[in-house]
C-alpha cells in the first residue's frame, strides 16, 4: 500500500498540538510506516507539496494564517483541523472581545514595557484580521479533533481512522462522564445550592481530590465541556477549563455553563466572579453564536 502523504502546518498557536504529535514517542515509528510526513514545521520545508492529508493546528488571526490555510486546502485532498485553536479559535479567540485597534494599541503602544511605541505597518508583516476565526470559517475542513492539545492517543486514533477512510471518533458526552470524582450533593434531588459560596481554587484551605469541584464551590467547566481528554486536569486536582469545547448538542459553552450554574452554585457568588465571560468562552469564542464584539 502506498504511504499516505501528509503535510502539517501551524497557524496561530503554540506548537502544543505538534508537541502532542511528537509525544507519541516510539508509537510514531509504526505510524510512519503508513504515513509519510513530507512537510512540517519540524523538517522546515517551506512549500506545501501535493498531499493526501493536510494537518493544521492553530487559529486564523492574520493574513499569513489565511494564506497558509488556503494553500493547504489547495494542495491537500483532506484537511484535519488539529486542536482547539483550529477547531474553535481557542484561547486566541478571546481577542474578539476587543476591537482590533484596542488590541494593537495595548500590545504596541499602551504597554508597560514600551516607550514611544508604535503600531508596525511594514508591508512585510502579516496584517492582523479584525477577528480571530476557526479554520472551518476560512476553508472547508474534513476532520476536526479538539483538545488543548489533543492527547497523543487521540491524535493516533484520528490518524488511523483517516488513513483507513473512516469518520474520526470524538466522544459526545461531557467531561463528568470521564471524571472519577464523587458526587454527594449533585445527585440529591433537592433544590438547594451544592455550596454556600463560590470559591477561587487558591482560596481553598484544602482541595478534596476525590470530590466534585462544583460541590467544593469551585467553578469547573467539566459539565459544559466535551470529554476525551482523559480528564487530565481534574486528575491533577485542577478544575476543567473547558478546552475540548462544547458538546455536539450545545451551541454555546459559556451560555450553557451559565444556564447550568444558576441552579447549582449561588448566583450571587457567581456575579462577583471576576470574569464569567472569560471562563465560559475561554476556548470557543470564535464559534459562538455571537463570535465577537459588535463594531461601534
Amino acid at each position: 500500500m502506498a504511504k499516505v502523504k501528509v503535510a502539517t502546518g501551524i497557524l496561530q498557536g503554540c506548537f502544543g498540538c505538534h508537541m502532542a504529535l511528537l509525544d507519541l514517542h516510539e508509537d510514531l515509528i509504526p505510524l510512519l510506516v503508513a504515513i509519510d510526513i513530507v512537510r512540517s514545521p519540524i523538517n522546515d520545508v517551506k512549500e506545501v507539496p501535493e498531499v493526501d492529508l493536510g494537518i493544521l493546528d492553530g487559529a486564523i488571526c492574520n493574513t499569513e494564517n489565511e494564506a497558509v490555510a488556503k494553500e493547504f486546502r489547495l494542495k491537500s485532498k483532506k484537511i484535519l483541523a488539529l486542536g482547539t485553536c483550529a477547531c474553535m479559535g481557542g484561547i486566541n479567540g478571546l481577542r474578539n472581545l476587543h476591537d482590533l485597534d484596542t488590541v494593537l494599541k495595548r500590545s504596541y503602544v499602551k504597554n508597560e514595557s514600551t516607550v514611544e511605541g508604535f503600531i508596525p505597518t511594514s508591508p512585510d508583516i502579516p496584517q492582523m484580521l479584525p477577528h480571530v476565526k476557526a479554520l472551518h470559517q476560512v476553508i472547508d475542513v474534513d476532520y476536526a479533533l479538539p483538545g488543548c492539545p489533543p492527547t497523543p492517543a487521540m491524535i493516533m486514533g484520528a490518524l488511523l481512522d483517516i488513513i483507513n477512510n473512516r469518520e474520526i471518533k470524538i466522544p459526545s458526552k461531557n467531561l463528568c462522564h470521564e471524571c472519577t470524582r464523587t458526587h454527594e450533593q449533585m445527585y440529591i434531588p433537592r433544590r438547594e445550592f451544592v455550596t454556600d459560596s463560590v470559591t477561587n481554587i487558591m482560596e481553598l484551605d484544602e482541595i478534596n481530590e476525590e470530590r466534585c469541584f462544583l460541590e467544593q464551590g469551585v467553578l469547573c467547566m467539566g459539565p459544559a465541556t466535551r470529554e476525551g481528554c482523559e480528564a487530565r486536569c481534574v486528575k491533577g486536582n485542577t478544575p476543567c477549563r473547558g478546552c475540548m469545547g462544547p458538546g455536539p448538542d450545545a451551541l454555546e459553552q459559556g451560555a450553557k455553563m451559565i444556564n447550568a450554574l444558576a441552579s447549582v452554585l449561588p448566583a450571587g457568588g457567581l456575579m462577583f466572579m471576576e470574569d464569567v465571560v472569560g471562563v465560559g468562552y475561554r476556548y470557543s469564542l470564535p464559534v459562538s453564536i455571537y463570535p465577537h464584539r459588535e463594531a461601534k
Binding site: H177, H183, P189, G222, V277
Partner: protein
C-alpha cells in the same frame, strides 16, 4: 411530511385585517393551504377532518383563534380530539394565533398585519416539520377522589361522588371547617358522609404530589400514601392553605393569590391541571352547591372513562450525549430528573415530569430536550421571526410564558389595545425554558431588543422557572456586554395573566427607549 394549513377568516373578523387568502397562496411547497370562514363550526370541523383523510395529512396548522381557545372551550377541545382521532399526533397540531395577537391589536395596519401573520404561520409550519411524535399512555382511572378542604362545597361534592361509589379521601389542615352559620344545612350531609365506609378524613399535611389525571399519588405526613383518580379543591378563601398547596397542585392563582379555574364562563371548575377541579369561594350556599355538583359531575365524567390518554410531553435525555453531571437533578423541583445508578446517566421519571423544560435550559451538554418544543425549533423560530421587517420602530423578540405573558398579550388584543407590529411573540412553556443561547441568537438575527414576560414572584406554575430564568439572564448580561450589546436591550417583566395594558405600555416604552439608542 404532508402538512395542512387551515386559515380562519374568523367570520370576517380576521380577514378584514389579515389577507388570509394571500397567506394561503404563499404556501405551496409541501403544504396544503385552505381558507375557511371559521375553524369552530361543525361544518368546518368536518371539512378539516375530511381534508386530513383525503390528503393523508400528518401535521396540521390551525391559524385563527388563540391556543387558549382550544384549551378553554368545548368547541376547541372537540376539534383537537377529532384531529387526534383522525390520526394526527398531538405534537403535530400547531396553533397560530391570528386573532388575539394579530388582527385585533394591528387592526389599523392591515398590510403589516398580513406580513406578520405570514411569518407567524411560517413559524408554526416549521414547528410541525421539526416535531417528533409524542408518545401516549393510557391510564385506567381509579375510582377514588381526594377532596381537599372539608368545606360545605367539599362535602357536597363528596356526597355526590360517594353516591356514585367513589372512594373519597378528605384532606384538611383542620377538622371540618368553614360551616359558619350553615350548620343546619350542612351537618346532616357531614353526618351521612361520616357514616359512609368509603369516606376517610385525614387531618394532615401533603408532603408529595405527583402523577396524572386518573392516577394521582398523594403522600401525607406520617408516611400516609393516597392514590386518587381526581382531586377536588374546595378550600374557600383560605389563603394560607392556598400557598401551602400551590407547590403541589400548581394551579393558576389570581391577583389576590387564590386559585382560579380555567374560565369563569366556559370551564367553571376545570383548572390548568387535568384531573384537578376547583370549587371557588361562592357568595351563597346555593351557588356553592351548584359548583360542587359541577365539579363532582366533571370529575365523574373524567373518571368514568375506560381510559384517560396522556401525551408524554416530557423532557427527554439523549443518552449518547448525557455524561451524568447531575445538573438536571439539582434543577428539577419536581424530582423528575433521576440518575440511573447503573448507567450513571440521567433519566426522566414520566410520572413526575411536568414538561416545563427548566432542565433543558440547564443541561450543559444539550442532552436534554423538550418534546413539545425542541431547542432546534426555538433557534429556527427566532430566525423566522427575525425575517419580519417592521416599517417603523424597533423589532422586539417578545418571549411569552404560556402561564402569564401569553394570556396577557391575548387580553391586550381582546380589550382593543393596539401595539406596533414589531412585537414578535414567541411562546414558551415556562420562562425556565428560555435558554440564554436563544437571547444571543435573537441579537445575532437582528432583533433590537428582547423582552421576556415571566410570571410574577410566586405565580410560576413550575414554581422555580421564573427565578431560574432571572438568575440565568442576569448572569448572562455580562456575556451581552462582552459582545458590545447593551444589557439594557434585554428586559424581563413579571406579569400576571391579564396584564394586557402593562404588556403593551412596557413594550411601547421599551421600543421608544431602543429608538433613542438608535436601535430602531
Amino acid at each position: 411530511m404532508n402538512i395542512g394549513l387551515f386559515l380562519s377568516e374568523g367570520d370576517g373578523d380576521i380577514s378584514k385585517v389579515v389577507d388570509v387568502k394571500y397567506i394561503a397562496g404563499e404556501h405551496t411547497n409541501g403544504v396544503t393551504a385552505r381558507v375557511l370562514g371559521n375553524l369552530h363550526s361543525a361544518a368546518s370541523h368536518s371539512a378539516i377532518v375530511q381534508e386530513v383523510k383525503d390528503k393523508k395529512l400528518e401535521g396540521v396548522v390551525l391559524a385563527g383563534e388563540s391556543p387558549l381557545f382550544y384549551k378553554k372551550t368545548r368547541n376547541g377541545e372537540l376539534l383537537l380530539s377529532l384531529l387526534y382521532a383522525a390520526g394526527i399526533n398531538p405534537n403535530r397540531v400547531v396553533i397560530t394565533n391570528l386573532r388575539e395577537q394579530v388582527s385585533m391589536p394591528h387592526r389599523s395596519a392591515p398590510n403589516e398585519a398580513t406580513l406578520k401573520a405570514k411569518v407567524l404561520v411560517d413559524v408554526s409550519i416549521e414547528k410541525v416539520r421539526l416535531s417528533k411524535e409524542v408518545d401516549l399512555i393510557e391510564v385506567s382511572p381509579r375510582r377514588a377522589v381526594t377532596v381537599i378542604g372539608t368545606t360545605a362545597a367539599g362535602l357536597f361534592a363528596a356526597q355526590r361522588l360517594l353516591a356514585r361509589n367513589f372512594q373519597v379521601d378528605f384532606i384538611d389542615r383542620e377538622e371540618v371547617r368553614d360551616l359558619k352559620n350553615l350548620k343546619d344545612q350542612v351537618l346532616p350531609t357531614l353526618a351521612a358522609i361520616r357514616e359512609n365506609p368509603n369516606a376517610r378524613f385525614h387531618i394532615s399535611k401533603i408532603t408529595d404530589f405527583y402523577g396524572y389525571a386518573g392516577n394521582f399519588r398523594i403522600n401525607l405526613e406520617g408516611d400516609k400514601r393516597l392514590r386518587a383518580g381526581g382531586v377536588i379543591v374546595a378550600i374557600g378563601d383560605d389563603l394560607k392553605f392556598t400557598s401551602e398547596l400551590y407547590p403541589f397542585l400548581r394551579l393558576e392563582r389570581d391577583e389576590r393569590g387564590f386559585f382560579k379555574t380555567l374560565s369563569s364562563a366556559t370551564a367553571v371548575t376545570e383548572t390548568v391541571q387535568q384531573g384537578i377541579f376547583l370549587i371557588p369561594e361562592q357568595q351563597s350556599l346555593a351557588l356553592s352547591i351548584a359548583m360542587a355538583d359541577s365539579a363532582a359531575m366533571s370529575c365523574d365524567a373524567l373518571l368514568s372513562r375506560n381510559a384517560i390518554r396522556h401525551e408524554l410531553f416530557v423532557s427527554q435525555v439523549d443518552e449518547a450525549v448525557c455524561g451524568g453531571c447531575g445538573t438536571c437533578i439539582k434543577t428539577c423541583i419536581f424530582r423528575a430528573a433521576e440518575i440511573d445508578p447503573a448507567k450513571k446517566l440521567s433519566s426522566t421519571n414520566i410520572k413526575r415530569c411536568v414538561g416545563c423544560g427548566n432542565c433543558v435550559s440547564a443541561c450543559p451538554t444539550g442532552a436534554r430536550d423538550q418534546i413539545s418544543a425542541s431547542t432546534k425549533y426555538y433557534l429556527s423560530a427566532i430566525k423566522i421571526l427575525a425575517s419580519y421587517k417592521p416599517p417603523t420602530g424597533a423589532k422586539l423578540l417578545y418571549v411569552i410564558c404560556e402561564g402569564c405573558g401569553y394570556p396577557s398579550l391575548d387580553y391586550a388584543g381582546t380589550t382593543g389595545l393596539e401595539y406596533p407590529t414589531g412585537v414578535m411573540p414567541l411562546s414558551v412553556r415556562c420562562a425556565g425554558r428560555l435558554d440564554t443561547q436563544f437571547i444571543l441568537e435573537a441579537f445575532k438575527e437582528g432583533f433590537s431588543g428582547v423582552v421576556i414576560c415571566k410570571c410574577k414572584d410566586d405565580h410560576c406554575l413550575n414554581i422555580v422557572g421564573n427565578t431560574d430564568l432571572d438568575r440565568r439572564a442576569n448572569l448572562f448580561r455580562a456575556v451581552l456586554s462582552s459582545r458590545g450589546i447593551s444589557p439594557d436591550r434585554l428586559r424581563i417583566f413579571g406579569v400576571s395573566d391579564c396584564d394586557g395594558a402593562s404588556c403593551v405600555t412596557s413594550a411601547v416604552e421599551f421600543m421608544n427607549y431602543l429608538k433613542t439608542m438608535g436601535r430602531a
